[in-house]
């Protein structure tokens, strides 16, 4: 049964072809109009294909539009706070955001005391491609290699002044192991519960002093138990997100990373705005030295960095040794191949030489023994 027939049967009609195109004579075909000739062909397969394509295209535009509305919704939600703080909000004067693809958007803000810039990266579910979305959702259940698609926003704030290196974060308990897994700086910290913050959050920091001084009244008022549903984590850090593989990778890049899920209600947006404002405040306090840390705490931080650099150095040395050993082995192999390619007479000569050398060595040994 051909594919056309199968599809035809699906639609409840049996193929109704009294005479195929090839069975008509030339005269008969010539006497028909173009439209009549076209009608002789069974077009159902083409229609089904076109139909599927059409549905896919429509779904693409619906998903794309929905993602875009999520982005504009989010950016509008925090717009007032950003406008109050920054001279420029958006990537240029009349562009609020840039669409990198249907699932990746980015925005920007700049022009404020103590802050050089704010990068906003929005990564959404692949709603425009319904097959990928569905497959990723299903496969993520069976393997850890594929991650469940979610809507997330990463806001990275870069202060414009230098201050002491430290890592301190408040992290939602929902999914905290993953955050530690995918953020190098979080895996350098100690996780501790605290009665001072809502029980759905934990501190992850390099020392008690950091977490206590960062936790201002205003910051605390932006958190409650429910907030863990849309605040993934926010962290003051100087270390990178990916684990560095070279020593240059440890150079401090001081910033505040705020990772969110797209909030759903107006109250959630209010909390997010409050959180951002309190972080701006903390940055101001760091700049004015109102928040500063004891030398003991900072020494510990330095020690952690040094240990990590040592680890990488060791790994690099090991790699170097391996490469050297490999090269040696390669040279030996080449030498052997060269000898093998020589003429038999030359090979014999070489062998003789080798033997002489061995004998000399032996003699030397014996002489020493005597």
């Amino acid at each position: 049964m051909s594919l056309v027939n199968i599809i035809g049967n699906l639609f409840g009609s049996t193929p109704n072809q009294p005479k195929a195109y090839a069975q008509y004579g030339l005269d008969e075909l010539n006497s028909m109009t173009f439209f009549e000739r076209a009608k002789l062909q069974d077009w159902r397969l083409e229609l089904v294909t076109l139909g599927f394509t059409g549905v896919f295209v429509i779904l693409f535009f619906i998903g794309d539009f929905y993602n875009k509305s999520l982005v504009t919704g989010f950016l509008n939600g925090i717009n007032d706070t950003l406008k109050q703080n920054f001279y420029q909000v958006g990537v240029s004067k009349d562009e609020l955001y840039i669409k990198d693809s249907s699932e990746n958007y980015s925005s920007y803000a700049t022009g404020r005391d103590n802050i050089s810039r704010v990068n906003i990266d929005i990564k959404l579910r692949p709603r425009h491609n319904i097959f990928v979305w569905f497959l990723e959702g299903v496969i993520s259940f069976f393997t850890e290699a594929v991650k469940k698609p979610i809507d997330k926003v990463d806001i990275v704030i870069y202060p414009s002044f230098a201050y002491d290196n430290f890592i301190s974060a408040i992290v939602s308990k929902l999914g905290m192991n993953d955050y530690r897994k995918f953020n190098y700086f979080l895996s350098l910290t100690k996780t501790s519960d605290s009665a001072k913050i809502p029980e759905s959050f934990v501190f992850m920091s390099e020392g008690n002093e950091f977490q206590e001084k960062i936790l201002t009244e205003k910051l605390l008022s932006s958190l409650d138990i429910q907030a863990a549903n849309f605040i993934r984590y926010f962290a003051f850090t100087d270390q990178s997100t990916e684990r560095p593989e070279s020593i240059e990778g440890f150079a401090p890049l001081r910033r505040v990373v705020v990772s969110l899920q797209i909030p759903s209600s107006k109250k959630d947006y209010e909390q997010v705005c409050k959180l951002l404002e309190s972080i701006f405040d903390i940055i101001d306090k760091l700049a004015s030295k109102e928040i500063s840390f004891k030398p003991e705490s900072l020494k510990k931080v330095l020690k952690t960095r040094e240990n990590e650099i040592e680890k990488v150095q060791k790994a690099m040395e090991l790699e170097k040794q391996e490469i050297e050993a490999e090269e040696k082995a390669k040279l030996k192999r080449e030498e052997r191949d060269r000898i093998r390619n020589l003429s038999p007479a030359e090979q014999a000569k070489l062998e003789k030489k080798e033997q002489e050398r061995k004998q000399k060595k032996l003699q030397k040994k014996q002489r020493v023994r005597m």
Binding site: F141, K173, L174, N183, T189, T191
Partner: protein
Amino acid sequence: MFGVSPAVSNIVIMLVMMQVSRRLDLENPDILFYVRVIYGSLQALTFFVFFLTRLKINSKNDLTTLKYVEPANPMSGETAPRAVVTTVKEYDLKQIDTQIRGIFQSLAMMGFMHLYLKYTNPLVMQSISGIKGALESNIVQIHLFGAPATGDLKRPFKAAPGLLQALTGAGEIQTDKASVEKAEVSGAGGIKED
């Protein structure tokens, strides 16, 4: 179950089911149909048990922090043990998901054996072990039967030492404070996303 260790009762059940399957006329389409129905419904029941447990876990919403150290997995190229910082809820949900994946795995195996290789005996023998394993699993014991999470049921659960573990040389899960604190700040994170 009945105070007998699961390993012993598994063997007993297997022997009994072997006798049963020998006495059943599996060529008879009626009997075959019933065997299939029983197998299918027991698998569905297993799934339902896990689903109920999942609901229970979500409604309990136990956010107590749970820390332990997972041994390095040489198969996936890990060299150092990795600290896991999670909550009781998340740990339990992960356990349940593993169990549910197990159902799908055994369904796929059985689909291959029964539908492709046309064996019916395993269908009879496997029908009970799935639901038995589910009811005996730590996570169901804790949440559906209200067993206290202490002793053998203390999280993180100890895996029964298996052959694979001996082959790969993987160690055991550690929960003592010193090793947790050491592994926690060792900078093992930062895997590239995507």
